[in-house]
């Protein structure tokens, strides 16, 4: 029982609760860096590394961090890991550092990472948190890679820098093409999720602007009760 739920923590991030395509988090890096497939992988791997590490540490410290200052505390932890990752990328993959530019340090404010810290790592033990981070990271990377491949292939006629097509439809590497491909992928993900007969399950408090200060959490409770009744 425990084993299956651990696997579930990992797999839910890939399709069912894909952070980009179903939760629509982290849209900014998704649109900005997916002009090529290699950029997308670089961004995905960097964000996954930060996500796994920060989830682990936040989960470890969840009983020591006072509730009132948890957001600054989470951000500090995340920023620490982002600095580490940035230095590593600069040292070992300077080309990716150049092409990602400002978006690499901006992982600090990537809402997937803070979102997972707030929604999951702050409430759960270490192992599930790590798996959750890993699953979300893989889902993020997969979504970015899909977008990167489509946009690079159509927009520059190449894949991972190898020229394949003589024709280039420039709009796909420009922002409008990014939004278009993003919309198409969201449509596809919704189609897949609805075909499997599963609804995208998210807590009603996710993304609610007052959820941080909301003491009653009535929305969550009513949904849980409804789910319990349905079961």
């Amino acid at each position: 029982m425990a084993k299956t739920s651990l696997i579930k923590e990992f797999t839910k991030g890939i399709v069912k609760e894909n952070p980009v395509l179903c939760l629509v988090l982290g849209t900014c890096p998704t649109l900005a860096v997916t002009t090529s497939a290699s950029n997308a992988i670089g961004m995905g791997v960097a964000a996954t590394a930060v996500l796994v590490c920060s989830n682990a540490v936040i989960s470890l410290l969840r009983k020591f961090i006072p509730d009132k200052v948890r957001i600054p505390a989470y951000i500090t932890i995340i920023a620490g890991f982002v600095s580490v990752v940035q230095m590593l990328v600069k040292a070992f993959a300077p080309a990716i550092n150049d092409s990602l530019g400002i978006y690499l340090p901006l992982i600090v404010v990537n809402c997937i990472i803070l979102g997972r810290a707030e929604m999951f790592a702050g409430k759960n033990p270490v192992l599930p948190s790590i798996l959750d981070g890993l699953g979300m990271g893989v889902g993020f990377t997969a979504a970015l890679l899909c977008m990167g491949i489509i946009r690079e292939f159509l927009g520059s006629g190449s894949l991972f820098g190898v020229q394949l097509m003589p024709v280039q439809i420039l709009i796909f590497i420009l922002p409008p093409g990014g939004f278009f491909v993003f919309g198409m992928l969201i449509m596809l993900a919704n189609k897949l999720n609805s075909r499997a007969g599963k609804k995208v399950k998210t807590s009603p408090c996710d993304g609610c602007p007052i959820s941080e200060n909301c003491s009653t959490k009535t929305c969550e409770k009513t949904v849980k009760e409804a789910a319990a009744n349905a079961d």
Binding site: L170, I171, F172, P176
Partner: protein, 316 residues
């Protein structure tokens, strides 16, 4: 004995206006421009028009079929879209690029949003802009027109559109008759005006949008120090004002809404021509105003008959 009293539900009088009838009128109004294109650029332009129209109709049929909706090719709107798109392309464009434009216009802009009457921007215009952004060199490669002034055609294969040509290259007569470079449908001003007059007489379009558009554009050119007549006759202003901006789906229904819409189009056209790095601003300005149409309509809702405006501060 025959009944003398017929009981039937309304409407008791029906006009013979139908989508098909309106679209047919637009096609008729565009015919002079298409013929002029053939005269100016040769039969190649007829081939381009045929390709665009055929692709648009085919794509409309196929996409409706895939989406399991009723076939709507009978209303001729796809023909109009194809024709307008073709008239917005340079004559020597690769047919595959033109077909890609048709795909954008019909499938992405029109059918994905629910078909005729549901599109939020003009399909032909959106397709033109997608092509312009995607293939800038192919889309700005203007073949020389028949009888263009020699100064414009020094380079044997390309000639400048009047908007980037040196001042004095083209006279007003050249612009009126289409002796200049440009998209196949936009060069000859006379036939576009003829088509516009036909549409107004047939009451297919109201003259508010084209007239206000052109007046605003002329005024703006005066303000920024351009020759107003030259600006109106060159580039796509006439094609845009008469055939693009007056699209039913993407222009306001209220009278004052139409005025605001047209003023915006004219303003942005000249601003983009003068201050952006693109030579032409018609498509972008109309597209921008298309997106603003819901807001414009909300702001200009006419007063309901019998409704009395409440005074400020009055309760209930």
């Amino acid at each position: 004995m025959e009944q003398k009293l017929h009981v039937s539900s309304s409407p008791h009088f029906k006009g013979n206006n139908s989508t098909r009838r309106i679209m047919l009128d637009v096609i008729i109004a565009l015919c002079p421009a298409a013929i002029a294109a053939c005269v100016i650029f040769g039969l190649r332009s007829l081939v381009l028009i045929a390709i665009c129209v055929a692709t648009c109709v085919l794509l409309e049929y196929v996409s409706r079929k895939i989406m399991k909706r009723d076939a709507t090719i009978g209303d001729l709107s796809a023909v109009v879209t194809g024709l307008l798109l073709a008239l917005n392309l340079p004559v020597d464009i690769n047919p595959l690029i033109a077909m890609f434009g048709c795909l954008i216009a019909i499938v992405v802009v029109k059918q994905m949003f629910g078909g005729i009457g549901m599109n939020f921007v003009n399909p032909a215009l959106a397709a033109r802009i997608v092509l312009l952004v995607s293939f800038p060199s192919a889309m700005m490669h203007w073949a020389p027109a028949l009888g263009a002034p020699a100064a414009a055609a020094i380079d044997a294969t390309t000639s400048a559109t009047p908007l980037v040509a040196e001042a004095g290259t083209y006279s007003y007569i050249d612009l009126l008759l289409g002796r200049c470079g440009g998209s196949i449908g936009e060069v000859c001003a006379v036939v576009l005006i003829l088509g516009g007059i036909y549409l107004v007489i047939r009451k297919v379009i109201s003259p508010i949008i084209p007239c206000v558009y052109l007046a605003t554009a002329a005024l703006m050119s005066l303000i920024v120090g351009l020759d107003p007549l030259y600006q109106l006759l060159s580039g796509g202003v006439l094609l845009g004002a008469i055939f693009m901006a007056t699209d039913y789906t993407t222009s306001p229904v209220t009278k004052w809404g139409k005025v605001i819409f047209a003023v915006g189009c004219g303003f942005f056209t000249i601003m983009l021509r003068q201050f952006s790095n693109m030579p032409e601003g018609v498509s972008f300005s109309i597209l921008l105003m298309n997106i603003l149409v819901p807001l414009i309509e909300r702001a200009t809702v006419p007063r309901t008959l019998g409704y009395i405006k409440k005074k400020k501060g009055e309760q209930k």
